[in-house]
């Protein structure tokens, strides 16, 4: 998921890190994404279990990864995303979970969980927290005005087609991509009809070439700036994280703009990701960590978080506590045939990872 309040998150993380050093007898230390929990959730947990929560936040997988790989992070529960997880397991970052301490596991949606087999088979190390997609955010009114009513808003063509992007860019309608080879090369390959998860360097190069062809029409490559810019109308098409784009739409509405922001999952395929709750191998309070994970698996709690953060939860039992508006929103809970086109990014070997970063750098800088 995205990173919005970089600055505030860093400040909060620092001030909490100071608090965290004062050890507490009955506590659990949670390290989660910023803006990713309902306001009452932690209080309810303490009320129900008597366990105090020290809650810190981060704004990117990279931040968490560096903290975990350096060792002795001091956290009991962390919430990394799928594409970072496998490598962290191999590095020995996590301990296996004890299913006996997690009776609420039965609430999980079995069909959805099948997507995680390639990441963490059988859920030995992890329980999903929330999930979402990476798709297209767009300024509904501006895009229609420029491209007409049959604008291909359900396709990556909106961002990858040279003619379409030139038309948008010439009309002063900015476009943006996430600044991440991992996140942009896969949709480019999907748009070309290639396997979005291909590790074949030629496929990656082809994806890179496609993006290089529209590079001059991109206003920028950035992984969080588009939230504010979509809401202000500075940008009108952006590849982005579902939740971030919902937030942009909400902000545009609150500010009373004369346009609305929409989100679509392109038909060629898009990334499906999970943020996974896991317990570091050196966690000081293992049992409390399990208690916390089990609490999040409570259907009412999961529903409460989804209502607040607008990301889907993997909890089948939570559906009955969700509002119709959220449950029937195809951008949050996509329909079955959309789900079939989604792919889960997996861990890549070092040389493929490096090739991706390198191709991305060349595409971006035009070298």
């Amino acid at each position: 998921m995205g990173n919005i309040h970089k600055l505030s998150a860093a400040v909060v993380a620092i001030s909490f890190a100071a608090a965290a050093s004062a050890a507490h007898a009955n506590e659990v230390r949670v390290f989660n994404w910023s803006d990713y929990i309902a306001p009452e959730t932690l209080e309810k947990f303490t009320e129900r279990t008597g366990i105090e929560v020290t809650y810190d936040v981060y704004d990117s997988n990279e931040t968490l990864d560096a903290a975990l790989l350096a060792g002795r992070s001091g956290y009991d529960v962390v919430v990394p995303s799928t594409h970072y997880f496998t490598r962290q397991i191999s590095a020995g970052v996590y301990q296996p979970l004890n299913p006996e301490l997690l009776p609420n596991l039965s609430n999980l949606n079995a069909e959805l969980m099948a997507n995680l087999e390639g990441i963490d088979a059988g859920g030995e190390y992890s329980v999903p927290y929330m999930w979402g997609t990476n798709g297209l955010g767009y300024n509904v009114d501006r895009v229609r005005e420029i491209l007409g009513d049959d604008a291909p808003v359900d396709s990556w063509a909106l961002l990858f087609d040279p003619e379409i992007t030139t038309a948008l860019s010439d009309a002063g309608c900015g476009l943006s991509m996430l600044d991440s080879g991992d996140e942009m090369l896969s949709p480019a390959m999907a748009y070309l009809g290639l396997d979005p998860l291909s590790e074949n360097i030629e496929d990656l190069e082809a994806g890179g070439e496609l993006i290089a062809g529209v590079r001059n029409n991109m206003t920028y490559f950035h992984s969080s700036r588009y939230v504010a810019d979509l809401a202000n109308g500075d940008i009108c098409v952006a590849a982005g994280y579902s939740g971030d784009i919902f937030q942009a739409a909400e902000r545009a509405e609150e500010a009373g703009r004369d346009f609305s922001v929409g989100y679509s999952i392109p038909k060629e395929g898009a990334a499906l990701w999970f943020d996974l709750m896991a317990v570091p191998a050196d966690a000081p309070n293992t049992e409390n960590a399990h208690a916390f994970i089990n609490f999040i698996l409570d259907p009412e709690i999961a529903a409460e978080i989804t209502e607040y953060v607008r990301y889907a939860n993997p909890n089948a039992a939570a559906n009955e506590y969700l509002s119709e508006e959220i449950l029937n929103d195809p951008a949050i809970y996509p329909e079955t045939d959309t789900m079939q086109n989604l792919y889960v990014a997996i861990e890549k070997p070092q040389n493929v990872q490096r090739a991706r970063t390198r191709i991305w750098n060349r595409v971006k800088s035009g070298r």
Partner: protein, 302 residues
């Protein structure tokens, strides 16, 4: 009796000297040499999937001590033009920003040093006051000024000078403006310190001998303020080369600077050894101007 007293005094002096030198030495060891050694160590190891994510340098097994020194990380930097291009991009941007800082900063410092004494404190404060606001907030403010729907564009469109916004954000131009703005005080302050110390009688002597103002400036003022120019330029150039935040926030896809590449090696490729090697090379690159600066300073002291 005299010799013993002298030797006691000398001994005491020596102890005092050692104590005085010890403090900066300990400081340097703790905050420069140790981190330097750690980064050097990581740069010579091999990447691994483990905690920490690099292999050991020493291993003792079967009564043999194995030492692993991997130079591959350094060779790798040569194998890909990206790194050279990124270093070059950083040096170019830093040089450009330093030159502009000097062009703007010198007249500022000159005017400040020539201003009536009661004004000088106020002028100094005006130079320093902006830095009391957080650096990040000041860079964010530039985003508001330069963006398509920002201050400048709205103003120009408002008075009818242009129809569609000029693209300034996310360009090399914005990065240069950001660096110049952020580091200008570091240029002005040492220049001011040098120019304020300038002996007025030298200028009067030049005038008495019939030198014109421009000639006096070129032959007297400029050489005497050289120390300030060098100090100010170093204070701007060195941090500007490693700058990460300004290009990240104001830069566009064309901006290729070493700070960002280092970040990518560390966080995206998760290759700490190559990232460390990159940092070592950057340090070596910066060592050249630092040594030059040091030489210049000691020559000036003589």
């Amino acid at each position: 009796m005299m010799p013993t007293r002298v030797s006691v005094l000398l001994k005491r002096l020596q102890f005092g000297r050692r104590a005085v030198i010890a403090f900066p030495l300990v400081w340097l060891t703790l905050f420069f040499l140790l981190p330097f050694a750690l980064v050097l160590k990581i740069s010579l190891s091999e990447a691994a999937i483990a905690i920490p994510p690099y292999g050991p340098l020493l291993e003792y097994a079967d009564q043999t001590l194995h030492i692993f020194l991997s130079l591959g990380n350094y060779l790798f930097l040569l194998s890909d033009s990206l790194y050279v291009a990124a270093y070059w991009g950083s040096v170019k941007t830093a040089f450009m920003a330093t030159s502009i800082c000097l062009l703007i900063g010198y007249p500022m410092a000159y005017a400040m040093a020539r201003a009536p004494a009661r004004w000088q404190l106020l002028l100094l404060l005006l130079v320093m006051l902006p830095s009391w606001t957080s650096f990040l907030i000041r860079v964010y403010a530039w985003m508001g000024i330069l963006s398509n729907s920002g201050l400048i564009n709205n103003l120009l469109i408002g008075i009818g000078l242009i129809d569609s916004p000029i693209r300034m954000m996310n360009t090399q131009f914005a990065v240069t403006i950001g660096i110049v703005y952020a580091y200008l005080p570091f240029m002005v302050l040492p220049l001011y310190a040098h120019l304020a110390r300038l002996d007025n009688s030298l200028l009067e002597a030049a005038a008495d001998l019939g030198s014109r103002k421009i000639n006096t400036f070129v032959k007297v003022t400029l050489p005497l303020s050289m120390g300030g120019i060098v100090a100010g330029s170093m204070l701007v150039f060195i941090p500007a080369v490693g700058e990460f935040v300004i290009p990240e926030l104001l830069g566009g896809p064309n901006t290729l600077m070493i700070g960002k590449v280092l970040w990518e090696e560390f966080f995206l490729n998760r290759d700490w050894p190559v990232a460390s090697a990159l940092a070592m090379v950057m340090l070596l690159l910066l060592l050249v101007p630092i040594v030059w600066f040091h030489r210049y300073q000691s020559r000036e002291l003589e």
